[in-house]
Symmetry: C2
Subunit: 362 residues, 2 copies
DNA sequence: CACCTTGGGAGGCACGTTTCTGCATGGCCA
DNA sequence: TGGCCATGCAGAAACGTGCCTCCCAAGGTG
């Protein structure tokens, strides 16, 4: 059977294979492969000729075949823990969305594409996609997905310090304790006498570290802890918890909320109780939303810098995939940023509107 | 060379191939494949035996080989137009994040994974990933990416009515004209005499359709148009444009803002000019953020239902991939939802806080 | 003239599946 | 007893690349 016949039989009308290019250019498959990939010893004339023929035929190399042959797919996974049937929770939404966006950008800039896969996904989805490596967000202790991945020899980089002895390749995280302590000191400096905390009931690392840091700070300065915990994945529960916190007999004169919607919820609750912010109540919450720059009053927020984390995580992962021994340490701590606005400044409240923030370096 | 030798040479220590399973189970490759995929004529005993051996060896079928053989990768692309170097713009961020989340969920529920790819990505990324089909968001007229994809015979479903004669397989969109007209009527009903518009300078379909609908409505009711346009991708420009709109000599007594941050920006501008909302100024903006439920006052928002759109788009795409002739029409119009809050109700303003919204069906 | 080097390119195997085809066996019926 | 069908599996051909090996011709060198 002639080569022309072979190539004609296998391919559907729309798709040209490397064999078709070779036949049309009058060269061998090897030459086509070498010419298009910049390898081998070929004169420029041949290289250009092959490229031109390939363009004319609209040739696109088969990603599946290349992956099978080289063992590299150019795909990295982004694994998130799921609550219910949604890929990510409501409260972490802004953080996760920003982080995923930055990760996508960073991956694309290095020639990789990013696939979002929930940790508890149907098994067939996981085995249907060839991954070169995976980013896991806040993996739980003894996470079965991570173990399985490292068993397959794939690099795994974690957003969030891995609990227990999870064998991740690298990890990136904030210093949550330092962030909470910084905020509590900031509130105390602004005149707070009793600082309350709005926290979550779930057992993830972020909630746990932040809460214990708060409790230790209270112990150190001799304040009774005043906090309300609620299921953070329930968007309605936050408003109720904020209300409960301000309804307590030992009502705090300053509150830090660990989750994104806590700021508006606390503002609304303060209005209901006739509390002026910041005069009667100082407010800080952890959020990535720029809307807090133009609320009444503007609310001081702690940014966890999801964009920097997403970028760093992907860089570490791709370095590991490509065997680059990164100059960066395999454990990176990204500093948080406290964006101080009116809600946490009792002295000399700014009357001017705080300048709009640039979208970069968030 | 014996089969055992063959299988031992090719595979790395960590990964077991189908040949290893066949050898360990004492059957042929065909039998393993049939047993694991539920095909062929095999007694249950053989099937169970093969499955057990495969589990014991930790066998995971190679996605690349399967894709190469079957032509189906189980991956669908989500293509977004880029402004600058980021995958999606700042103003569309909440909409896009929600839409992408819903699309991811819907894809996973049907056994597919979703890859986010910017339209103007480096070409090697596009050719490195095997896609079964693609969702494009708001494709421009004569979009080269779409043409290329349909030339390859891949189904393409569009979020947003395709401009020109773009040969998409199906599309999903809101009725933006009807939405704008509904809002303008709503504001007029609430007592507005001169309604202003905060719009964008870019030429995408959403901005264009909404603005022309506004202009036609003005013509019909005999009102002079009062609008300010600003580059929507610039997060700072919105605040300036909101300020400009309220500083005009023909200051409107009601404003509709086309983009997500317009609500807080307009609220801040109104405070600067001493305008009470809703008494002196009625306010509506298009947003997916639940924060507008607890601003002061709560702001009426138009939701474009990104979750329903993301789900619908993916369903249509997978139906097309799998050759299902969908009962649904290939052109779906998703209704928008006007969430009426205090900012657009001059009569009987609600003093109670509007109930927190459920996260579903947004 | 024999030998080596270097450029230019072809042959063919392997990656790990899926699946088409076909072989053997045994039971059933005419 | 011979044909026939159902059952239970094995062989082997693809799928489309990448790359290792090898071949050939043209010079250069002793």
């Amino acid at each position: 059977m002639s080569r022309a016949e072979t190539s004609r039989r296998g391919s559907r009308p729309g798709r040209a294979g490397i064999r078709d290019v070779a036949a049309a250019a009058g060269v061998s498959i090897t030459t086509v492969s070498d010419a298009l990939n910049g390898k081998g010893r070929l004169p420029d004339a041949t290289r250009r000729h092959v490229r031109e023929v390939a363009d004319r035929l609209g040739y696109r190399p088969s990603a599946a075949a290349r992956t099978l042959r080289t063992g590299k797919s150019g795909l990295i996974g982004l694994t998130v823990t799921t609550y219910g049937d949604e890929p990510f929770t409501f409260t972490e939404f802004a953080y996760f969305a920003e982080m995923a966006r930055a990760a996508t950008s960073a991956a694309l800039a290095r020639g990789y594409a990013l696939v979002i896969l929930p940790a508890t996904s149907r098994h067939d989805v996981w085995s249907n996609v060839a991954l070169d490596g995976t980013v896991v967000i806040d993996p739980s202790d003894q996470d079965p997905v991570v173990s399985e991945l490292v068993r397959q020899g794939l690099p795994v980089v974690s957003d969030g310090r891995p609990a227990g002895s999870l064998p991740v390749t690298a990890w990136v995280d904030n210093d949550h304790e330092a962030a909470v302590l910084g905020i509590l000191d900031h509130l105390a400096d602004a005149g707070a006498r009793r600082i309350g905390l709005l926290t979550g009931t779930s057992t993830d690392t972020y909630t746990h570290l932040s809460t214990t840091a708060y409790l230790r700070w209270c112990e150190r300065v001799g304040q009774d802890p005043v906090y309300e915990a609620y299921p953070a994945h329930d968007p309605c529960a936050g408003a109720v918890a904020a209300d409960r916190l301000l309804a307590r007999p030992d009502r705090p004169d300053a509150v830090y909320g660990l989750f994104d919607p806590n700021g508006t919820d606390l503002l609304a609750a303060a209005r209901r109780y006739g509390l002026r912010v910041p005069d009667d109540l100082l407010l800080v919450c952890c959020s990535e939303s720029t809307m807090y720059a133009s609320t009444e009053p503007p609310v001081t927020t702690l940014s966890l810098k999801p964009r920097r984390i997403g970028t760093a995580v992907v860089q570490l992962l791709i370095d590991a995939i490509e065997g680059v021994e990164s100059e960066q340490p395999v454990e990176q701590v990204i500093p948080t940023e406290l964006i101080v606005r009116t809600s946490s400044q009792r002295r000399s409240p700014r009357t001017t509107v705080s300048p709009p923030r640039t979208p970069d370096d968030r």
